[in-house]
């Protein structure tokens, strides 16, 4: 129990970082109605671009921006495969994801793992977030506002604010219409292909930002760091919805719910790990099972209600 509580700040930090990615998944999955599998690749792309540029001495903000742009480029590729080449969205995402495996390795100089040098104190101080800072703030050697929860919290707030503004604009509204009803969107003069591509770009830009933040946080980028990212993203979206959909109806709050969903996910995972002592290799199995169950619940509920209605009707007939 003690180990769980002491691991909580790190779990929350990590959840917040992944929450940025989950907000990206929300845009494609919920707003555009596309299950975009690019994210498993573009997450790592963000991390790889950041680590390489930062390692080469680039300004940290510039490195972050480059990571976001690289992610948007990945989204553009998936979008073009889908709209200009007529490939189903899921397959287009898988193709980009596969291609990105090679691309990511190439970015990292054909190495599967590249570390950020945080033994060098000036280098460490330049970072915006780091697992080290969690410990440093606890020890009192760093001010509280360098705590990853605080810093990534600010990032999340900024992302939500920008998205809230964007989806309220004419262009953003046309994107929402594209996802909600493409027939209606076209009849109202909206180019749904442009909408889908733009949505995929924004989404993967956020996913890459999250990857860049995670590589900073853990001080390395790894070719397989995005494996299963889409599942974590979906888990966050679904958990957020299950827990908070009644309370949070406003769009900005819905995005916040996604971020909270990611935090809850990581707290639960941390609890499972520290309390049960399970081999962490089983985490992916557990994650997949959790998401499958939550995705199935609405369907089961409907089937059950239909059965129940049928049963009641039959009973009624017999009674009469």
């Amino acid at each position: 129990m003690l180990s769980f509580i002491s691991a909580l700040p790190a779990a929350i930090s990590q959840g917040l970082v992944w929450g940025v990615m989950a907000i990206g998944v929300y845009i494609t999955y919920k707003i555009l109605d596309i299950a975009d599998l690019t994210v498993d690749g573009s997450f790592c792309t963000g991390g790889a671009v950041f680590v390489m540029l930062f390692g080469a001495g680039a300004n940290i903000w510039l490195a972050l921006l480059a990571a976001v742009l690289a992610g948007m480029l990945a989204g553009l590729i998936t979008g073009l495969l889908h709209t200009a080449c007529g490939i189903p969205a899921i397959l287009a995402g898988i193709l980009t994801q596969l291609a990105l495996w090679s691309v990511n390795l190439a970015i990292m100089g054909m190495k599967a793992n590249v570390a950020i040098n945080i033994i060098d104190q000036t280098n460490l101080d330049k970072l915006l977030v780091s697992l080290r800072f969690v410990q440093d703030v606890a020890k009192g050697t760093r001010p509280f506002y360098r705590h990853p929860i605080f810093v990534v919290g600010l990032f999340t707030a900024a992302v939500i604010a920008i998205l809230y503004w964007f989806f309220g604009t004419e262009l953003g509204a046309s994107l929402r219409a594209t996802g909600a009803n493409p027939n209606m969107a076209r009849a109202q003069g909206i180019n749904t292909n442009v909408g889908k591509v733009l949505g995929l770009m924004i989404s993967n830009g956020l996913v890459a930002l999250s990857g860049a933040l995670l590589s900073q946080y853990q001080a390395f980028a790894d070719a397989s760091m995005g494996k299963g990212a889409i599942v974590i993203g979906l888990a966050a979206v679904i958990i957020g919805e299950v827990l908070l959909s009644r309370l949070f109806t406003n769009f900005a709050l819905k995005l916040l719910a996604v971020s909270i969903g990611a935090i809850v996910y990581y707290i639960v995972i941390q609890a499972v790990v520290s309390l049960s002592g399970i081999d962490t290799n089983y985490l992916k199995l557990i994650s997949a099972a959790i998401v499958a169950i939550f995705l199935a619940i609405p369907y089961w509920k409907e089937r059950f209600n239909a059965l129940l209605a049928k049963f009641i009707r039959k009973r009624g007939n017999i009674d009469a």
């Binding site: 604009t169 219409a177 909600a180 009803n181 969107a185 003069g189």
Partner: protein
């Protein structure tokens, strides 16, 4: 206003499912004309409308709207000139968006969508006034999600959206077919009012011969991918269902009209 010249369309060419839906159809509509279209299932009514709307490219022929050749324009670009209401009430509106958001999308039809705010401050008051015309109480539910509305309410809203930016051409594809008779009458009534107010050039498909005769100033009947009957002016005003059936029997050389038209 609308000029359709010899358009052709065959679906699934070269397969067992090959179906020629339009055979050299030509139609010229003057500005302000209200044309009703009838015909049995598979006669090509909806295909004609979709061809004009640009849902897919035609195999041949030319389509001009208000002097602009739109034959090769994609659907979303033609939308600048066309207002549409679909048969399926779910198809014309975005269920997960609010009533005012749907209207705001329609208000910007044919315009470049920018990073300006999606609904201006003064717009909502304007929408409230317009919704009053429909007489469905929607003016008090501006921020309700459209998914909460009934089929009839959604159809009426779609109609308003289609005409918010005065279209050069209004296409109505059996827009009352999925509604109960009372609601259908209400939506048709609203259609008459809106079309009459702005003198909209309108092409309305209906499966109901009485409606086809009662509304509009010109009636065309389609059969087997062709326009077989075209009645307008005084002749149309005096037309009865019985006469129309007789006319159709003569043109098509069969009396199948009785079944396909009256039963559908």
């Amino acid at each position: 206003m609308l000029d359709v010249q010899n358009i052709k369309k065959t679906f699934n060419p070269g397969t067992v499912n090959e179906k020629t839906a339009l055979r050299d159809v030509s139609l010229h509509m003057e500005e302000g004309q209200f044309v009703t279209v009838i015909g049995g299932n598979g006669a090509g009514k909806s295909t004609l409308l979709n061809a004009v709307a640009g849902v897919w490219p035609v195999d041949g022929g030319r389509i001009t709207i208000g002097g602009v050749d739109v034959t090769y324009l994609p659907e979303h670009k033609r939308a600048k000139y066309i207002g549409r209401v679909f048969q399926d009430p779910m198809m014309g509106t975005a269920a997960t968006m609010q009533i005012d958001e749907n209207l705001a999308l329609a208000m910007r039809r044919g315009r470049h969508r920018t990073l300006r705010i999606g609904i201006g401050k003064s717009e909502r008051a304007e929408y409230r006034e317009m919704l009053k015309i429909l007489d469905l109480g929607l003016e008090d539910r501006l921020t309700s999600k459209v998914g909460l509305l009934s089929g009839g309410q959604r159809q009426a809203l779609t109609l308003l959206m289609a005409t918010l930016q005065k279209p050069k051409l209004l296409l109505l594809d059996e827009h009352t077919a999925a509604l109960d008779p009372k609601t259908a009458a209400k939506v048709l009534d609203a259609t008459e009012r809106i079309v009459g107010k702005d003198h909209l050039t309108t092409l309305m498909i209906t499966h109901n011969m009485k409606d086809a005769i009662a509304h509009g100033d010109r009636l065309i009947m389609m059969y087997n991918g062709r326009i077989v009957i075209d009645v307008s002016g005084e002749e149309k005003k005096k037309l009865t269902v019985h006469q129309l059936l007789e006319l159709f029997g003569k043109v098509s050389g069969s009396d199948e009209a009785d079944d396909t038209l009256l039963l559908s």
